[in-house]
């Protein structure tokens, strides 16, 4: 049995534990180890992607206990794609953190690696209870990363974030407990078999558990009305943490996709397509409310946080189409939006450093040093975020809309997604012109006219991650064909649940 599927979990876990032993060491030792581990993680993720790209489903039974008795990890195209996205994002967030954020607390690198452990675990697990455990691992790490650096506002938004997620975890356990009580298993493939053959008197209970799980995943994915924790938490935290958190809402979206195609999907008998009629309206309203939040934001980071909400809405809109084309469009859109919003969080931090007490408030202020370069990057990222041609944002939205053509709700999807595009353009154009064109006004605190903001040297460690994330999106634009083919294959593999069940439980398990 190949051990490849468990390496993306073990690598960050052991790096984290190792860093814990090196707590008293100098920062560059920790940086080197953390950096090497993140590079290695990318290599492993790429290898995993190559292994599963021919359509095999890699099942890894821990301690060789056969499913459904033991715990299984499993890697298919979807999981491998998300692990690779996570590891790429993590490397660039880490490089940015090496610019100084990681000095604000001793535990940064440890928490960062444990967060990666939780994220990769959530993508690779094939067991519902383990999904809960990995959710908790990534949440515990994220609670501390969120508060990294301290400060009044961070503590306040952190408190809200922690409390709502602990309540979410309780709901997850209630749902998992109910499923176990009725069906006697927590292995996802086994659950899929048992749900399809559930006895009529238990349908109500299983349905309750299924919808309760949806509440939990919707909370993680920041779907309306459970998104309220996101804007304040993401806009207050440090830039590298916010950039890494761009993938956290995608964990919720991934879980929705996995559970509601596999366990409550087309083949689930009386409970087939449990989310039909729920997911699409909620995703579309999320986009609407996110657009309003985007227009009403008073800070750039708040705007980017609302872009994360909108991207969650768009992503789940495409997943809710429940067709190969729809899911594939979402899978192309997912890495793009993750990279674009992460780069925007990092850029916002560079702007804050150049505006002193004005920070990232959307008001005309200092002339920012290196204005032309930062303005150009902002322009490119705004194009990405709003989905204008010629970059990958446009391709992603185009695929989503093309997939929606066959859906009965196409007028609503078109109207809302396109209007949102327009509103994003307006909001980003307003921020860009305030920061880069109208930058000449009064410094209100001292009531003097200062034209030039504080001179900040442009460091490679800060610029490189932003340009690389931008570069990844450009690569996604040029390689749109191969990536789209891959996501189409991933989507059809996802909807072929019998193949998944056979891979985990052995032939003829149904």
């Amino acid at each position: 049995m190949s051990h490849l599927a468990i390496i993306p979990l073990l690598l960050p876990l052991f790096t984290g534990i190792f860093l814990l032993l090196l707590r008293e060491q100098r920062i560059y030792v920790k940086r080197t180890i953390s950096g090497i581990s993140s590079l290695a993680l990318i290599a492993v993720a790429a290898k995993l992607l190559c292994t599963v790209s021919d359509g095999t489903i890699t099942v890894y039974a821990l301690s060789d206990w056969p499913a459904p008795f033991g715990i299984v990890l499993m890697a298919d195209r979807l999981a491998a794609l998300l692990v690779l996205t996570t590891s790429l994002l993590a490397l660039f967030a880490l490089i940015y953190a090496m610019g100084g954020t990681d000095r604000q607390g001793r535990q940064f690198h440890i928490l960062f690696q444990l967060q990666l452990f939780g994220l990769n675990g959530a993508f690779l697990t094939g067991d519902l209870f383990n999904l809960f455990v990995f959710f908790e691992v990534l949440l515990l790490a994220s609670y501390s990363l969120l508060l990294h650096g301290g400060g009044r506002k961070r503590v306040r938004s952190g408190l809200h974030f922690v409390v709502i997620n602990v309540v979410g975890s309780s709901l997850f356990l209630f749902a998992a407990g109910t499923l176990y009580g009725v069906l006697g298993t927590l292995n996802m493939a086994d659950l899929a078999v048992k749900v399809a053959n559930v006895s009529p008197e238990n349908i109500g209970l299983v349905k309750t558990a299924g919808l309760l799980l949806f509440v939990v995943f919707a909370l993680k994915a920041a779907l309306l009305p459970l998104y309220l924790w996101l804007p304040s938490a993401y806009s207050q935290t440090s830039a590298p943490a916010a950039a890494l958190f761009a993938i956290m809402t995608k964990v919720g979206a991934y879980s929705i996709l996995r559970v509601y195609t596999l366990i409550f999907g087309n083949e689930a008998g009386p409970l087939a397509n449990l989310l039909d009629g729920w997911l699409l309206p909620m995703a579309l309203t999320t986009i609407i409310i996110g657009s309003f939040g985007l227009l009403g934001s008073i800070r750039l980071r708040q705007q980017v946080a609302y872009l994360v909400v909108i991207s969650a809405g768009t992503l789940l809109t495409s997943f809710s189409l429940n067709s190969v084309a729809g899911i594939a469009a979402g899978l192309y859109y997912l890495p793009h939006t993750t990279f674009a919003t992460a780069a925007l969080f990092l850029l916002a931090d560079l702007i804050i450093k150049r505006r002193e007490q004005m920070e990232d408030r959307l008001e005309a202020g200092f002339v920012i040093t290196q204005q032309k370069l930062l303005g150009a990057i902002f322009f490119a990222l705004a194009i990405l975020a709003s989905g204008l041609p010629p970059l990958s944002g446009f391709l992603g939205k185009f695929m989503v809309l093309r997939a929606a053509l066959e859906h009965p709700a196409v007028p609503y999807i078109m109207l809302i997604v396109l209007t949102n595009g327009l509103l994003t353009v307006i909001a980003m154009a307003r921020s860009g012109s305030l920061f880069f064109y109208e930058a000449h006004a009064v410094d209100r605190s001292t009531n003097t006219y200062t034209k030039q903001g504080p001179a900040e040297p442009l460091r490679v460690r800060e610029l490189l991650p932003i340009l690389s994330l931008l570069g990844l999106c450009i690569v996604m634009t040029f390689w749109a064909g191969p990536i789209n083919n891959f996501s189409l294959e991933a989507a059809s593999q996802l909807l072929d649940t019998p193949a998944y069940i056979n891979a985990v439980l052995g032939q003829g398990a149904q």
Binding site: E136, G158, V163, V166, S169, S170, Y180
Partner: protein
């Protein structure tokens, strides 16, 4: 017995939800603790109530206690314990940073 435990879980959950909706951090922490008690009992119950039966295969036994919920509940207890400790520290930090223990950091009039 089943009815008694169900009522107990219900009361714990109701108390937990009520306390979570309070405006100060201390009751919220207590509420989360009550919720985690409720959920632990609930998980434990999901293996059904069996008394005096072995959880491991043996020749004499005809019926068994389900060992899996016990393992699950152990994991859940450890996690909720860690979470509670973290929230208490966070609540204390919020109290010192913001000068009061309101969840939004505002003094209630």
């Amino acid at each position: 017995m089943e009815a008694l435990i169900s009522i107990l879980i219900g009361i714990l959950t109701a108390g937990g939800v009520y306390l979570c909706l309070r405006s100060h951090t201390f009751p919220v922490v207590l509420g989360l603790t009550l919720l985690s008690y409720a959920v632990n009992l609930f998980l434990f119950m999901m293996g059904r109530l069996v008394i005096g039966k072995p959880p491991i295969i043996s020749d004499q036994a005809s019926t068994y206690a389900d060992p899996l919920p016990q393992a699950l509940v152990l994991t859940a207890i450890v996690i909720s314990f860690a979470m509670t400790a973290y929230i208490i520290v966070l609540a204390l930090k919020a109290r010192t940073e913001m000068g009061n223990d309101h969840v939004d950091g505002k003094e209630v009039r």
